[in-house]
């Protein structure tokens, strides 16, 4: 069971949260200019990282706010938690 630290409510049990997938996916500003392949990449393709994964969680049974988590997908260890709009930890390609 994960112990997730909501940036607003503090550490809570995993069952209070809803997983919302990969973080920092930006909706293309001009969808009409994209090819079908580019649009499919935005809609469906994911990094699916094995290792440090930046992901969104929602404190669904608590404050109902979204935030970002850096979690290792092999050990499941949560390395950091940060609010939307804050820069992700470390360098990203």
């Amino acid at each position: 069971m994960l112990l997730i630290e909501c940036p607003w409510c503090g550490p809570r049990d995993e069952s209070e949260f809803a997983y919302s997938g990969e973080a920092h996916i930006v909706r293309p500003l001009t969808p009409e200019e994209l090819t079908d392949e580019e649009w499919a990449d935005y809609l469906f393709c994911r990094r699916n990282t094995r290792g440090d994964h930046l992901e969104q969680w929602c404190h669904a049974s608590g404050c109902r706010r979204y935030f970002n988590v850096q979690r290792d997908t092999v050990t499941y260890r949560i390395k950091s938690v940060y609010k939307p709009g804050e820069p992700p930890p470390g360098d990203r390609p």
Partner: protein
Amino acid sequence: MQKYSFLSLARNALTYHENWQRAWRSPDPKPGYDVVIVGGGGHGLATAYYLVKEHRVGSVAVLEKGYVGGGNTGRNTEIVRSNYLWDEAAHIYEFSLKLWEGLTQQINFNLMFSQRGLLSLGHTLQDLRDIQRRINANLLNGIDSEFLTPEQIKEMVPAIDVSPRARYPILGASLQRRGGTARHDALAWGLARAADSVGVDVIHNCEVTGIRREGGAVTGVDTSRGFIKAGKVGCVTAGNSGVLASMAGMRLPLESRPLQAWVSQPLKPILDVVVMSNAVHAYISQTDRGELLCGAGVDSYNGYGQRGSPATLEHAIAAIIEMFPRFSRVRMLRQWAGTVDTCPDACPIIGLTPVKGLYFNCGWGTGGYKSTPGSGWVFAYTIAQNRPHRLNEPFSLERFATGHLIDEHGAAGVAH
């Protein structure tokens, strides 16, 4: 290959079973192969077997980073069925089921394939409508399927609670009599032995670390045991497909999630069909050893750790106890999880890639086990002919760009 038969059993009994041949060799990798299959699970082994058997490919190797049967092939709930809603999915799963029906004989290995019947329960009016729709679709596709009333379910499965007061009242079910179970370790071992017997090198402890390309075509793979040249490379690595794809500079529409299963202590025979319920994400059967073998829905978050979330486990156990109140005091013996590669439309991706000579077979998500022989067969065809077979043509990677998705998610539910 030493043939397994009553005679060989009797002969070996005379020497106290000390002189059995190894079921398959453990060769060192050669410098190069015509086709290299990455991933020594059921799908990879079946692919290699059919490549030689059906398409006469000269030299084939299967590279497995761990050991045969250590991945999802040995971690599922052994369920085999083909009652899928959409034509594309129904065709490939039914083709696979037909291969299952002759596989024990074909590969001379007892897969303990048992067509004991499979019930999919409905708990709401909408469930019943979906079940009726699926039954009709199945019948039109030549797949056996029938509807059972709660009384008929109770007669078939006396241990189940069909009372209207249940938390999830059982209002009906679909039954596929040709569905059932097959022992998963036997499938892994049987296919490894079959592939080996036709000359495939099954190489253990050989992890692929890179896919070498030259001028847009694949030239070989870097592995933990050195570089291996390859004319064609087929990747069948389930949960790790995304990792392999990134080695070739590709992105896939996959997310790897843990999928859990567990067994109880062994009991006397009480359940002789497979019972599954999509609505409450749980399924259960009884193994020949007497264990109740149960499975849950897929976990909610990505994970490669081969461990599941206790919350998912608890949810599925609660649902099973609700359906079978008398199992409430049965003890759980073991629990485990596999890493499944889930696709947005819950259908696999089998086909060519933008890299010449590189093929992917992935995205089976929670439904891979039952499709093993069929998946191997069509993937072998795709690699050998360099074009998809009509059975896997709809499951191309391009469908995400064209929009021709096969929305099996709502149809099959999550329980596979």
